[in-house]
Symmetry: C2
Subunit: 690 residues, 2 copies
């Protein structure tokens, strides 16, 4: 293997190329935020360069990077189990998740080391990662142990000194992101890809997806119900039935259900409600754009619909122009792009042909990414932010305003996915659809309210937030709590955009979190564990939201749960009382609460609960909470909430400061408007722990 | 895609090539049995040639064959679930089976249609099969159905008019085997690959694998116990501890446990007992052949042992010469080649390099096959038959005397694998290791006694056949029943060799079996089955053994079970009473019996139970059973049972005939010796149903 040549492409970011340049995910990145990277300061290249290798052989292109025995490796995409990828092999394939690691909606080939660096493999192929497993014969091998005499010393997975990644292709590119902590590496990755997505303000409100056969009248009736029952509503999602044909899709309005789409959209707009349209990309022959797209489609169909090759500009233009004219120009706010992942039995085969000449594998691995990219570009041209959903993604997607979801409905898996999305530069929603009990309904609602996109997806169940009467009030309470936290959450997303800090973060990205893993040594069992494989249990059922809040969701049936508190003092969000410091606590669960903890000095600006974000007019009063005893400063962010003007610095910042004077904590605020007048008004301070 | 050009390569066998010739499984086939194929008569090419297509594109090489809506497709390797592969995608990868279809020990790319033809894709790559799923845009598409209005008419898997297979490689070869029935297609496949394996006679007896840390004294003591307790024993298996180092392997005798291997082997040989040695191919540095093999090994190790590239003659010679000198020449009868399958976390990565230049994927996909091939060749040179085990295989393995096994210990899966092995040209053993109850112990013993290789694998559990005292007598009984059936089973294997008829056969290969499938229509469930996928339940818990016996094993806990009887009269093996005709019967299970049924006219020659096959001297008396009312003829086969001389026609055949004379059934026998004197003596007829 050849020693890799590294090129410094930004402060703290290096790149090496192996073989030929192929279609790759990094092709879709936004412009790197070079100044923000520079502001992070410089950091050294994290490897001995001579130990970094690459080659092209009969299998394709592969890379080898050194690994120390003590390193933990996190990431490799939107996984539903675990967080430490070490001692495992991952084959990263875009697919609907069905329990197989690596085969997931966003199998992002980016990993972060507990040492503090990150590595990204840019490709459109399906990369495989041997993460500290597998030993080259010419490497430093661990000691040999005779299995019949060596007892527990023999390991089925001998320690390896490397991470090796490979693609069955003609080349790949590797990016290395330096850092003194995993969070730094993640920040540099997000910033290099263009910064994280800043959704429109309304996108952080409540989303309700209607039953698929709903008509305009059904929708308006439902909206009335939300109002009557005092439930927040910001986005109304329409499922397949809004189209004249699906599946596959016509992309045209169904004349029976939506005879006057513009009027319908205007009626909702008056209430501040946005509309999001479901679609999948597979083209019905009855679609008005079917003929125009035919020259651009692949050899195979999906659900009998043709599959446009969206690496081709001509195809992009046909779809975008149609959607702009028929949807966006009349007021549609965004999309849910479904079924761009798998399974194999539905999507095109790996041997299908596409007119661009790219392989079917490449098209599939980047399909969700390229669809996001083309729409983000069009929205940007319209100077209008969007927020929507997509069922697959890949690397370099940090700036994309599309959130991933899945039919895999396991609640624990949903929370683990939320944890792992922060290590993949993607956003994820543990959307709620239905439940088998009141308790499960409420607990899922609590989780989704503490996630990037709060959505009830009733496409099939036809449920409403109030469908489980016993817990309706508690459901309403948590949704309203979510709306109250909007200033805090919106600011967190701005930090995602400007500093690359994920708004919802795995605990391993939090300073002071000593990653708790439980290692259960393997015992030989001839039938169940013949190779005495070890089990490793990791903490993936809690996460950070914004700078200060730790979220520890509860699953149905849990009477108590453990919470791992990082070093430093932590306080109960609801009461301000001390909860612990650098320890694992056990709490008794309360049905009406999702456990939340705030770090010492945490400042949480909250607004009054509103039932619609855009309709809230006039100055918004703030209750600004402070927790603990520490002095602190917090920069509350605001802008117009819907255009890209913020990129020109058109925004407003309110500095919230807490200082101790004569033994007492006091707060002050100071607003700085830059061509945008802050919507925030009077500030009431609430020192929760005093 | 181009229309394929077909070349007739034998009676009823055609071949087409796409792209370049690469390393392929058919390279390892034995010489085709052209005369036997000819004797089967001719049959037409089963497709419209113009509808058969192939191409090489950006993804590799792929082939398309037409498929009718009513066809069922069976096969595609040693699968542990189901038998009909239609409407599914299979990615065939040699791996340890762990619940994922396609990733299995013998993912043989051979399938059979209910119409009666077979298709084999010869490659060393991992072929993918779209079996009646996926629709090309330029093919005949089924009707479009709007999902929101079409109700049950909409299908997530629209009917497809083809089977498409593909490899990520530069070419592939396709073989088509004609036939009027699935059995004919399977026979032609087996015959074209060289005919099925004929094991040495002793191989069909009882195999006991010792605990891995056993010494020679331990073994001799165990053998004594078998004798004392009146338990048959033919082969003694030694597990890793017989080697001076493992893992990885030295291949040399451990001096402490086996200080005098030749003496040890002689002692066992006096009792007629053979020894089978466990190994995996990964070379320990302390092995006496480590240096000699080093020039031939791949870039990566497995359990720190180097991996020889056995496509290279030099490597083969080193291993074979060592094994002949140190094992075979002193009396070892065969091997168990372990861990040549997976998992990925243990074996070499797909991007490893090998000195031959073949890719790591190719080497892995054929590794088990090439190891079998090199040893079969050496045994043939020694004019000595072998029987052993191997944990992976591929196509063209029909002549190989190695039986597949797995750590996947699910009993139902084990029986399904036995059913499917007959469609893959491989042999499989549902070996017994341990059990959680007396009942399970007995039921597993019953299954394994009605399989190609009867083995208790106590490498870890240290169990003996008498370890569950409550059922010891019943265990002994079924093992002895197995030994009594040796003449019948041995003859069935000879039919495998000469006619390609698998000795243990899926019911779909039996004339008159109307393949029962239960289709459970999918119902939309937003969380559990959003695409309303259909479930298809197939019969895989019963099989044929030899020409006349139907085996319906019982699983622990089953108080009763259904048995599907093909058309014609069937009789209970134990009583001769009528059981049914072309129907599904429900039987109450008896602990002491494995349910067995015999077809009308079935002739079953049985010998007295013996505790060691090779030590049974003198003429063997036969009890020849006849079932039902039909006249019939059966050719009982015999030969020396241990050399390849039978290939020159050195054998003996005894014709057993049953005729009705004056209303009564009478039997006669007539022996024809050809340079071999039949070991069978007097015949007693037992008309079970009279």
């Amino acid at each position: 293997m050849d020693v890799l040549k590294w090129e410094r492409v930004a402060a703290g970011v290096w790149k090496a190329s192996i073989g030929k340049k192929e279609l790759a995910s990094m092709d879709y990145a936004g412009a790197p935020k070079l100044k923000a990277l520079s502001d992070m300061g410089d950091t050294g290249f994290p490897f001995d360069r001579k130990a970094t290798r690459g080659q092209v052989n009969a299998s394709g292109a592969n890379v080898r990077l050194p690994l120390e025995e003590s390193e933990k490796i996190y990431g490799l995409g939107l996984e539903f189990q675990g967080i430490n990828r070490r001692s495992n092999v991952y084959h990263l394939k875009v697919d609907h998740y069905g329990g197989v690691k690596g085969y997931t909606h966003a199998p992002v080939p980016f990993y972060v080391s507990s040492k503090g660096y990150g590595v990204f493999v840019s490709t459109a192929r399906r990369p495989s990662f041997h993460v500290g497993i597998g030993n080259r014969k010419d490497s430093k091998l661990p000691p040999y142990v005779d299995r019949t005499t060596g007892g527990k010393k023999w390991s089925a997975r001998p320690v390896s000194d490397s991470v090796e990644a490979s693609v069955a292709g003609e080349g790949l590119e590797v990016y290395v992101f330096g850092g003194n902590s995993p969070l730094e590496a993640v920040r540099r990755y997000n910033l290099f890809c263009g910064g994280g997505a800043l959704p429109p303000r309304w996108g952080l409100g409540f989303w309700h997806r209607m039953h698929t056969r709903s008509s305009d009248a059904d929708v308006l009736k439902e909206v009335d119900e939300f109002e009557k029952r005092d439930f927040p509503l910001d986005v109304l999602g329409l499922e397949p039935g809004w189209q004249s044909f699906a599946y596959p899709c016509s992309f045209d309005w169904d004349k029976m259900r939506f005879p006057d789409p513009k009027r319908f959209l205007d009626q909702l707009s008056e209430k501040g409600i946005k509309v999001n349209l479901w679609e999948n990309p597979y083209v019905a022959p009855t679609s008005t754009i079917s003929e125009a797209l035919k020259p651009y489609t692949g050899s195979h169909t999906v659900w009998l619909g043709e599959v446009p090759d969206y690496t081709l500009d001509g195809a992009r233009k046909v779809l975008l122009d149609h959607h702009q004219k028929n949807h966006l120009d009349i007021g549609v706010s965004g999309y849910k792009f479904d079924e761009v992942d798998g399974y194999d039995v539905w999507l095109w085969p790996d041997h299908a042909s596409f007119p661009s000449g790219h392989s079917a594998v490449q098209i599939r691995q980047l399909y969700g990414l390229m669809i996001q990219d083309m729409f983000m570009e069009r929205f940007r041209e319209m100077n209008r932010r969007t927020y929507g959903l997509v069922r697959s993604s890949n690397g370099a997607a940090s700036p994309s305003g599309f959130v991933i979801y899945s039919d895999y409905y396991d609640h624990q898996g949903y929370v683990t996915a939320l944890v792992n999305c922060s290590l993949a530069g993607v956003l994820w929603t543990p959307e709620i659809r239905s439940a088998r009990s009141d308790e499960e309904w409420l607990r899922r609602f609590q989780s989704v309210c503490f996630s990037p996109l709060v959505q009830l997806n009733a496409w099939s169940s036809g449920k409403k937030p109030w469908s489980f009467p016993k817990v309706t009030d508690m459901v309403r309470d948590v949704i309203k709590l979510r709306t109250r936290l909007l200033p805090y959450i919106y600011t967190a997303f701005h930090d995602y955009n400007q500093k690359g800090i994920p708004p919802f973060r795995a605990m391993v990205l939090e300073a002071g979190f000593d990653h708790t893993e439980e290692i259960i040594a393997g015992k030989v069992h001839g039938e169940k564990n013949p190779y005495a494989e070890t089990t490793r249990l990791e903490t993936t059922d809690q996460y950070m939201m914004g700078p200060s809040i730790l979220v520890a969701p509860v699953f149905a049936g849990q009477k108590s749960r453990k919470v791992v508190l990082p070093r430093g003092n932590w306080y109960d969000f609801y009461t301000g009382k001390p909860a612990g410091n650098g320890e694992t606590i056990t709490i008794r669960t309360k049905l009406e609460e999702i456990p939340l903890f705030v770090k010492d000095g945490g400042i949480v600006p909250m607004m009054p609960a509103v039932n619609n974000i855009d309709k809230a007019k006039g100055k918004i009063e703030l209750e600004v909470r402070h927790y603990g005893q520490e002095q602190s400063t917090y920069l509350l962010y605001d802008d117009d909430g819907e255009t890209f003007d913020y990129e020109k610095g058109i925004n407003s910042t309110t500095e919230l400061k807490v200082r101790r004077r004569a033994g007492r904590l006091t707060g002050s605020s100071s607003t700085s408007d830059n061509q945008w007048q802050s919507r925030y008004g009077d500030v009431s301070w609430n020192f929760m722990s005093q």
